[in-house]
Symmetry: C2
Subunit: 206 residues, 2 copies
Amino acid sequence: MDNRGVLAVISGFSGSGKGTLMKALLEKYDNYALSVSWTTRKPREGEEDGVSYFFRTQEEFDRHIEEDGFLEYARYVDHSYGTPKQYVFDQLDQGKDVLLEIEMQGALQVKEKYPDTVLIFVTPPNAEELKRRLVGRGTEDMETIKKRLARADEESKGMEQYDYLLVNDSIERCAEELHGVIMAAHARMGNHLELVNNIKEQMKQF
Amino acid sequence: MDNRGVLAVISGFSGSGKGTLMKALLEKYDNYALSVSWTTRKPREGEEDGVSYFFRTQEEFDRHIEEDGFLEYARYVDHSYGTPKQYVFDQLDQGKDVLLEIEMQGALQVKEKYPDTVLIFVTPPNAEELKRRLVGRGTEDMETIKKRLARADEESKGMEQYDYLLVNDSIERCAEELHGVIMAAHARMGNHLELVNNIKEQMKQF
């Protein structure tokens, strides 16, 4: 148990910088692995299978659901997205801390099935800053931005169900905090009961 | 609430290196404050009032108990030891993370009164190593060592009531872990409910 990896779910508003945050963590430390999701949507220009997503047909996806092959899955608009169980468990068994970047709905599914999962929500320091970041990108039309703000409003409703809130006002500091949360998860007493029992047994022999 | 310090109790076997660990933390980061205990024992050679302890008479100590001035207190052999509430709260209010190095009995008292307190137990990697560290000092006679081992045996019984276990096989790594545990305590969702509510309120105005 002691050397098993930690399963951490990272959610956060679009514009919270959670992608950059995870990238910073992966670059700085070697104990992390990202989970790659399955999706039924078509690859976009330049997307490689197995990098940002595993691209699968709806039939393959549905079969995988039947085989209980997903940690969580969800349908958005016309496409299905899911986190493959096998890959995540393999990484955890090898001692890697696995970061899942998924939506709230999936996050709560995972936590219910695996209560040791650490749920982390990333937010800009306030809603005005969030709005500024969303609008400030300048890459999308007002319609898209409005949709995103509406979704952020929707997501904010469940924020308090997460274990941790990270306020992303500086990527570097926030990445340190995220790493701290993962280190703390390793140090939880529940992960070390075997060691505690060993120490107690050895003590008796003094 | 967001900027208040974290109250952390550090306990551990004699020989676990918890003193060195806390020193390493204080040297590396500026967010920590150590609590200085009151004691009724006489100062030893070179001990200054207010540094390792505040030296007080039994009358002063008892009056402070009556005034509810201690976070926790206990009596060992012929002397009383206590953690002064005022100092700890002042530091927490100033945003300092306060480290209390106290025994298990006091640790559990503090946790009961202040459930947000983080209880951390420090241990060498195994009991053999613990024995080696205790005996290896070579500064005490066998009688003292045996007493200490017996007390370690006693203390090991309550280890699992702590929130975190830190295995001190490297001071540097272990100090990083301890710092991670404190950072995680800051990031707990319960500390950020005001921010969460503010974000929700601001969202509604978009």
